[in-house]
């Protein structure tokens, strides 16, 4: 840890719900998250774990009227964005915090040239003339590895990987301090994934940006993240630096995720999937949210809600099984 570990983002006890006639979907339930300058935090979990909702709430973009940020604080550079007006929010979006969207096929406006789309954010935040912004946009295209003469072309003239580069260029246009990447490589094939990840890593270092990487791909996490938060049903179940999560796995759910990955060195071993499916988010189980699928669960897990507890300076886990004497996961034994 050096003296530069200033916190650029603090999320405290964030709770987000979606309400529609009669049912309340508890998408995010009291999560805490800190982002240190220039670090990358991975948010890992299954589809529907609340990762994207968390990301959208960081931008103040939870869809109204159904979505409600119930509780908590989101502090970006010392300011709580939940107390901001729409106008103030518009001023920090894109400038202090920006987002890379999942699907490059739909995240670009089909009737606008890519150069114009990158320039949009520059015109908005840096108050420069369009020509200047467009020139800057062309430079940015070059930075993400696309010939700048192509700034006048439309999104459909680019391949998926190149479009994702354009989306990244849009997000980086005003050099935001915080970058949220919502599954940026999910829609790409594996070779392009690697290229895009490499580029993001390079640019992130160059621009000194902190990043929240949302993914369900543990390979991507290993590649790019410094810290990892494992999310399930709107809760963070385990949190720690990369080595903690990968080598000193403590939560049964995290273990389940690792057991679901094929091993390249052992092609005969059977994969062990996690039993069951995600709980209905409008009717979460009592006690630990993971207990219906947890192979280690006992009676106590059905009633008592586990808190995130420190087990080392960098590593937190929410599992009451560790109150049992001598408890450890199968994975750490093998």
């Amino acid at each position: 840890m050096n003296s530069n570990d200033k916190k650029v983002l603090e999320v405290k006890n964030l709770t987000v719900t979606y309400e529609s006639e009669g049912s309340v979907v508890e998408a995010v339930n009291g999560i805490n998250l800190d982002l240190t300058a220039r670090k990358t935090v991975g948010l890992v979990g299954e589809t529907g774990a609340g990762k994207t909702t968390t990301a959208l709430s960081l931008l103040g973009l939870v869809q109204k009227p159904q979505g409600h940020v119930k509780n908590g604080k989101i502090i970006i550079n010392g300011k709580n964005i939940l107390e901001m007006t729409e106008k103030e929010l518009e001023n920090i979006r894109g400038k202090e915090i920006a987002m890379i969207f999942q699907d490059p096929m739909t995240a670009l406006n089909p009737v606008m040239t890519v150069g114009d789309q990158i320039a949009e954010s520059i015109v908005k935040h840096e108050k420069v003339k369009y020509e200047e912004a467009f020139a800057k946009a062309s430079e940015l295209l070059e930075t993400v590895g696309i010939d700048k003469a192509r700034a006048k072309e439309y999104p459909h003239q680019f391949s998926g990987g190149m479009r994702q580069r354009v989306v990244i260029a849009i997000a980086l246009a005003c050099r935001p301090g915080i970058l949220i990447a919502d599954e940026p490589t999910t829609a790409l094939d594996v070779t392009i994934q690697a290229q895009v990840l490499d580029m993001m890593k390079k640019l992130k270092d160059e621009y000194e940006t902190s990043m929240i990487m949302i993914t369900h791909d543990l390979g991507v996490v290993a590649e790019i993240c410094d810290e990892v938060a494992v999310m399930y049903a709107g809760h963070i179940l385990e949190y720690g630096v990369l080595e903690d999560i990968f080598n000193r796995t403590k939560h049964p759910y995290t273990e389940g995720l690792f057991n679901s990955i094929p091993d390249i060195n052992d092609d005969k071993i059977r994969l062990v999937p996690i039993d069951g499916g995600m709980p209905d988010p409008s009717n979460l189980p009592k006690g630990c949210v993971f207990h219906p699928r947890c192979p280690y669960a006992d009676e106590k897990c059905k009633t008592e809600k586990p808190e995130l507890k420190n087990i080392s300076e960098t590593h937190q886990v929410a599992c009451i099984a560790y109150d049992r004497p001598g408890f450890s996961l199968g994975r750490s034994n093998s």
Binding site: L59, E90, N109, E131
Partner: protein, 311 residues
């Protein structure tokens, strides 16, 4: 030979657009966009022919006061030459008071086209804004706009136009207003529907994420993506408005006599349809041909404007 020449021209144009692309200032940007649309448009030969003919018709409309003298050629009666069949002197014949039908149909172009265009412009602007607001923001504002639109849709449009004209008086400008109002609901619906589909696209969300305001997103992202549908509807509406204006003139609530609007000409020729069918034939043909040309050009333009069809 001609084809090869065309291709050469297309190639040089292409090179030109490339060059302007490199220059990178905003005027060349617009020029290159327009020339791209044009390159695409000219692939559709039917539409190009229609466009040329339509330009001729528009030129006739623009210069009709130079080609014909309104007082002498268009409305001056000349009973001695009444009801003459088509001849060299009067290719479209003469009407029941001896006026040359070429002059009357030709001058009518100006009235029919401008009435139709003006009413469509009114309808597109009013309906477009209402529909965009309803589709984008939803909620109570959408309810109010759409229920009002429903009420307007329920009244048959011809009946409503007649009603409006009767209330505000028979005048050419009132005809335009009436036709404009009757066309608003169509554009409100179309704009609302296409803005609603566009509203949930990820690039709208992405635009919010870079700090764009809602009104900016509506007018810069949502509306342009809905344009092709509005555009096609507008070209269809120009055709319909020519017919509607003609119908209203036909039953006598359109333009006042002796204005040579096409529908009014048809209406006048109706009494002589057996003895002098050319009195109804030529204005009818003028309406038919113009509407068809406008629709063909509209279709061609829609295809050319769609960036997905470009190479």
């Amino acid at each position: 030979m001609l084809k090869a020449g065309n291709e050469m021209q297309a190639k040089t144009m292409n090179i030109k657009t490339r060059k302007t692309t490199m220059a990178g200032d905003s005027t060349s940007l617009q020029r290159s966009k327009a020339s791209e649309v044009w390159l695409q448009f000219r692939k559709n030969k039917g539409a190009v022919v229609a466009l040329i003919l339509l330009i001729l018709i528009v030129l006739v409309a623009l210069f009709s006061d130079i080609i014909w003298d309104y007082k002498d050629d268009v409305i001056k009666q000349n009973i001695s030459e009444k009801l003459q069949g088509p001849s060299l002197a009067h290719p479209f014949g003469t009407d029941h008071v001896g006026r040359d039908m070429v002059a009357r149909v030709g001058y009518g172009t100006r009235y029919s086209l401008s009435i139709a265009l003006a009413s469509v412009v009114i309808a597109v602007i009013a309906g477009g804004i209402l529909g965009a607001i309803a589709g984008y923001f939803g909620g109570w504002i959408e309810n109010i706009i759409m229920r009002l639109t429903d009420i307007f849709t329920m009244i048959p449009s011809a009946l409503m136009a007649i009603g409006i004209i009767v209330i505000i008086g028979i005048k050419t400008s009132n005809l335009v207003i009436a036709l404009g109002i009757t066309n608003i609901p169509v554009f409100t619906r179309i704009t609302r529907a296409s803005v609603m589909t566009v509203r949930n696209c990820e690039y709208i969300e992405a635009s919010r994420a870079i700090g764009a305001s809602e009104l900016y997103i509506l007018f810069v992202h949502a509306l342009p993506n809905s344009m092709s549908q509005i555009f096609v509807q507008a070209t269809l509406a120009v055709g319909n408005c020519i017919i509607a204006a003609s119908s209203l003139s036909f039953i006598g609530v359109g333009v006042p006599v002796p204005t040579p609007e096409w529908g009014a000409l048809l209406s006048m020729g109706r009494s002589y349809i057996q003895s002098a069918p050319y009195l109804t034939l030529f204005p009818g043909l003028a309406i038919f041909v113009t509407v068809m040309l406008i629709n063909t050009v509209g279709d061609g333009l829609r295809d050319a404007l769609d960036p997905k069809l470009k190479q």
